[in-house]
């Protein structure tokens, strides 16, 4: 490295250490970025701001919670658990053998009382409890390719053990399809049967893009173990809405799936007679079956949780802000003027 003459250290040291702020007009934004001198805003947690923030949260969430709660309360819901009651008394001791025995008729007649006016459309759900559709082996036991394109040339090994039966491939393969729910419900009010609309219960996107129009059930539910419903081999999967609804696996062990819609209003004090076919075996694992009739609001079905939680959060915010206000008034700290720092650690 060159040394220029007998130079000693540079006498003219610059005034400040580092680069001085401002005063240089030629600095681009990139220069400022490199020198970490971008203009910054440094918010401080002053009591005013924080108390205001909590007040704001409270004032937003409490009305929101009230609105949500009201929406949820205005949904009318009838839930009826039928899996225990619909077993004839003779078989109450051994429900599993009852359900597995194909020769015993599984009809069940019940009546439901409507306690409040229900506006159409009224959604019919079947609710299953303690049913783990979110089990890992269960969830992966399907072949989306096969559902869309049919049984040719696709790898269906994830569908084991419901992949082949007697050497023939099963369409649709997998445990999810195999365990299709097969209880049916018919409704009679007064004299007339209530029409249940069983079309358009699945997601449109599923119907159009996930299940093929030309794929027909093959070799389905032919094995020794019957898991659920049988499928009509003449109807393509695209139109098998029950299957489509069932294949949309749920994340929770308690879930409801759409069965159909009633397009008429139900008045208060109406009595609806339900004819159930109690086919589905939930008795081997202690599951529960429930029939649900429900209206919907803008929030969906009946769910008080959101409303209650919003109110809870809002009110605790308000309480916090009041607490902080009291603290602030009591222990007023002087922020102006000099502050003293003591460095004794």
């Amino acid at each position: 490295m060159e040394v220029d003459g007998a130079s000693t250290s540079n006498g003219g040291a610059s005034t400040s250490n580092g680069r001085a702020n401002g005063g240089r007009s030629r600095r681009t934004a990139f220069d400022l970025f490199k020198q970490q001198q971008l203009p910054a805003c440094k918010p401080v947690l002053t009591p005013v701001w924080v108390i205001t923030a909590f007040m704001l949260i409270g004032s937003i969430f409490i009305p929101l919670g009230l609105v949500t709660l009201h929406a949820s309360r205005s949904v009318v819901e009838i839930v009826y658990r039928y899996d225990a009651e619909c077993v004839p008394k003779a078989f109450r001791g051994n429900k599993v053998s009852y359900i597995k025995n194909g020769s015993i008729p599984k009809n069940c007649y019940r009546s439901l009382k409507v306690h409040k006016h229900m506006k159409a459309p009224i959604y019919i759900y079947y609710q299953l409890d303690n049913y783990y559709q979110n089990h890992r082996r269960y969830i992966k036991s399907r072949s989306d390719q096969q559902l869309l394109h049919g049984h040719a040339h696709y790898d269906t090994s994830s569908c084991q053990p419901e992949e082949y039966n007697n050497g023939l491939p099963i369409v649709p393969c997998g445990l999810i399809a195999w365990s299709l729910f097969n209880d049916t419900f018919t409704f009679i009010r007064g004299r007339a049967e209530l029409k249940v609309n069983r079309k358009n219960i699945a997601w449109e996107s599923d119907r159009d893009h996930k299940f093929g129009k030309k794929v027909y059930p093959i070799n389905f539910q032919n094995g020794t173990l019957i898991g659920g419903a049988k499928l009509d081999p003449d109807i393509p999967l695209h139109d098998q809405e029950d299957l489509i609804v069932w294949m949309r696996t749920s994340a929770l062990p308690s879930f409801r799936k759409l069965y159909g819609r009633i397009e008429e209003d139900l008045e208060a004090d109406d009595v609806v007679f339900v004819t159930l076919m109690n086919n589905y075996n939930t008795y081997s694992f202690g599951g529960k079956k429930k029939l649900v009739l429900s209206t919907t609001g803008w929030l969906g079905g009946k769910n008080d949780f959101l409303g209650a939680a919003c109110i809870f959060v809002g009110s605790s915010s308000i309480i916090l802000s009041i607490v902080f206000m009291l603290l602030h008034v009591k222990y007023r700290r002087n922020y102006r003027g000099t502050s003293y720092l003591s460095w004794n650690w």
């Binding site: 490295m1 060159e2 040394v3 003459g5 007998a6 000693t8 250290s9 540079n10 040291a13 250490n17 580092g18 970490q36 971008l38 203009p39 910054a40 805003c41 918010p43 401080v44 947690l45 009591p47 924080v50 909590f54 949260i57 969430f61 929101l64 949500t68 959604y123 783990y132 979110n134 089990h135 890992r136 969830i139 949309r248 749920s250 994340a251 929770l252 062990p253 308690s254 879930f255 759409l258 803008w298 929030l299 969906g300 079905g301 769910n303 949780f305 959101l306 939680a309 919003c310 959060v313 915010s317 902080f324 222990y331 922020y335 102006r336 003027g337 003293y340 720092l341 460095w343 650690w345």
Partner: protein, 671 residues
């Protein structure tokens, strides 16, 4: 002066001669000789040309006996082309040359001169010469060549051979060189001392020179404020006794505010390091300032090692080739580039241009770096833990079968796209202004005590991630129950909740918001939606239409905002409470800074865990145990008196109350 060196003259176009020298000393000497009309004009191969008043004298260099730190001198054997005489010219430290002088010489005057110069803080060298006979030279040359080409123990053999020649010298005179201190050195030392960093000075100069230089830059204070303890001795016992005495004094004055420093010579240091390691180590831990003179590069490295073994964080700063070992040994090595070439700068972790930049390096950049690293590392754990906890909770309701709540695309994109961008810009975060930090260097204690990254802060982040996971999980599970409980939708709700929470967490932890921060935090949120919308538009993906469906549902937005409010509310409340009613020092400074009021510092610093910085002053290296900055360059101005005056008679160590501030501001005004 003109010949005995390793300088190469370079002729520029206009005829002026500039010199390329390995060290500033040689450069100075050659230039001084040139001023005295003995101009070193040219070097062709082995022939030197000296121009004396226009007359050209030629010398042939026969051998160069290089400078080693053991011999502490260098020599050249030259042949005068005019009359064929062979001369040995030597130049070196006074204690290396004067003992080799021929008997009968009046070395008294030279010793006095050297002492006088050292009192003034100048760097001294002695010059000597001898005439060699032809056959003596030839014999010796043969031995020298043999020694130079051995493969075993070369240095030792060469040293031995050189020893044979360098005796019976006739001392010519003594030179003194002034090595000016760089600007800003005293303030830097002062400020870093306040930050709790201890300074040691390691130098190759004489003891008196070093002490004078130290006094002139307020490294140590003169009596009666400061006390300088000497460790000297030639034999093991002497050193031991001296060491014991100093240790006793140190122990008794440790708690007092008196500024006690010790000085140790190269010889004594060698003995102490070899035989009295424990005692010296104890001394090292007790003292905040030390001066070590006549240290060799290997001793510098040894000292750094000693301090490292005492659990100190050491920083070594130097600017010459002899500092390289020390720089490499220390935890942090800083090289000053420029004065003596780039050797030190190349070997160092950090390379700065001037000594005073060290203040900024440590206080500003080092501190920011600590804050940012602490935040970044803990945040990374937090975001991963959040996802993990949610998965764990989900496994409890999925039969413990290992189902992942989130689909694989989301998980992959989570760490890369959704959560990394906001923290990338946290490297621009500044919790305190640079000016505030410079005014209150004591804030560095916070870093040294590890207040921002320790088990309890980590536990805080861990608890935060657990709390947030519970909030997200409970709210999503309950809000999206029964007919809404479809797997993909629920997973997307939970993921949205996580991402929103993290945006707010980063926003809460950021201290200064530049445009980039806003862009990164909020832009990241928007990017999350855009990416998911893109995936929701692909019919073949598992997420087909999920995001579109969700964004149309009011319950989705209510759920997300509820998650944010429930998750951030307690965090905000806790942070506010701590900030206002139990503020840490950083918080106090932040508040004061934003209000613009003046802040006064009270109290003395009692570091529990000081850090030392080792400073190196040119050929000196200063090692600082725990926060000692070892870089220091001696500053000698024209007259010693003026130097002392300008630095206010050295009262920077007058602590307590406002006095410190006023003395500090006085220092600032003077400079």
């Amino acid at each position: 002066m003109a010949i005995c060196n390793t300088v190469v003259p370079i002729k520029s176009k206009s005829g002026a001669i500039s010199y390329k020298a390995q060290s500033q000393d040689e450069d100075a000497l050659v230039n001084a000789a040139a001023r005295l009309h003995m101009v070193y004009a040219n070097k062709n191969g082995n022939i030197l040309e000296i121009r004396f008043h226009g007359l050209i004298i030629q010398y042939e260099i026969l051998e160069t006996l290089e400078f080693t730190s053991d011999r502490k001198r260098m020599s050249v054997v030259v042949k005068d082309c005019q009359n064929g005489k062979i001369l040995l010219l030597s130049k070196g430290a006074d204690e290396a040359i004067l003992p080799c002088a021929s008997a009968g010489q009046q070395t008294r005057t030279f010793v006095d001169a050297v002492e006088q110069y050292a009192q003034l803080g100048l760097r001294t060298l002695c010059l000597a010469w001898r005439e060699l006979k032809e056959n003596e030279y030839r014999e010796w040359s043969f031995m020298f060549k043999e020694a130079s080409s051995t493969l075993v123990d070369r240095e030792w053999r060469i040293a031995e051979v050189c020893q044979r020649l360098e005796h019976n010298l006739e001392v010519l005179g003594v030179t003194a060189i002034e090595d000016r201190l760089q600007d800003g050195v005293p303030e830097t030392i002062e400020t870093l001392r306040k930050a709790g960093i201890n300074f040691w000075m390691l130098t190759g100069d004489k003891q008196n020179t070093a002490i004078q230089i130290a006094l002139s830059c307020n490294f140590i204070s003169p009596e009666p404020k400061g006390q300088l303890l000497l460790i000297d001795g030639k034999t093991e016992d002497e050193v031991c006794r001296s060491l014991e005495r100093v240790l006793l004094t140190m122990r008794s004055t440790f708690s007092q505010p008196k500024d006690v420093a010790f000085v140790v010579d190269g010889w004594a240091l060698e003995i102490a390091l070899r035989h009295h390691w424990e005692a010296f180590t104890e001394l090292a831990t007790l003292s905040r300032t030390a001066i070590c003179c006549r240290v060799t590069p290997s001793q510098k490295a040894q000292l750094v090692e000693l301090l490292k073994s005492c659990d100190y964080r050491t920083l070594a700063i130097g600017d010459g080739g002899n500092d390289v070992r020390m720089i490499q040994q220390a935890d942090i090595g800083v090289g000053i580039s420029g004065r003596e070439g780039l050797q030190a700068a190349r070997a160092a972790d950090y390379s700065i241009g001037k000594f005073r930049f060290l203040k900024r390096l440590i206080l500003v950049h080092g501190r920011y770096s600590y804050n940012r690293t602490a935040f970044l590392s803990q945040y990374s754990f937090y975001k991963s833990l959040l996802i993990c906890f949610i998965q764990i909770f989900f496994s409890f309701i999925s039969g413990v079968s290992g189902t992942s709540l989130f689909n694989s695309v989301s998980l992959m994109a989570y760490n890369v796209f959704y959560t990394s961008i906001p923290v990338l810009v946290s490297v621009l975060d500044k919790d305190l202004n640079e000016e505030t930090v410079m005014q209150h260097p004591q804030i560095l204690f916070y870093c040294q005590a590890g207040r921002l990254l320790n088990p309890s802060t980590f536990a805080g982040w861990f608890g935060r991630s657990l709390f947030h996971a519970i909030v997200v999980f409970v709210i999503s599970i309950n809000a999206y129950a029964y007919e809404k409980s479809e797997m993909e939708e629920l997973s997307m709700v939970a993921l949205s909740g996580c991402i929103w929470l993290q945006a707010f967490v980063v926003a809460l932890e950021t201290n200064s918001f530049t445009k980039l921060q806003h862009l990164a935090i909020w832009g990241n949120l928007i990017a999350f939606y855009i990416i998911n919308w893109m995936f929701s538009a692909l019919p073949s993906s598992g997420m087909y239409t999920i995001m579109f469906r969700l964004c149309r549902q009011p319950s989705y937005w209510i759920t997300v905002f509820l998650i944010v409010a429930a998750g951030m509310g307690p965090i905000l409340a806790l942070k506010y409470f701590r900030y206002t009613y139990r503020p840490s020092k950083i918080n106090i400074l932040q508040q004061a800074e934003r209000r613009g009021g003046p802040i006064l510092s009270l109290g003395s610093i009692e570091p529990l865990q000081a850090r030392t910085i080792e400073e190196d002053v040119s050929p000196l290296s200063i090692t600082q145990p725990k926060n000692r900055n070892p870089v220091y360059e001696p500053l000698l101005s024209d007259s010693p008196n003026s130097t002392r005056r300008s630095f206010g008679s050295g009262t920077p160590f007058d602590f307590f109350q406002s006095q410190r501030l006023s003395s500090y501001s006085r220092n600032c005004k003077d400079n």
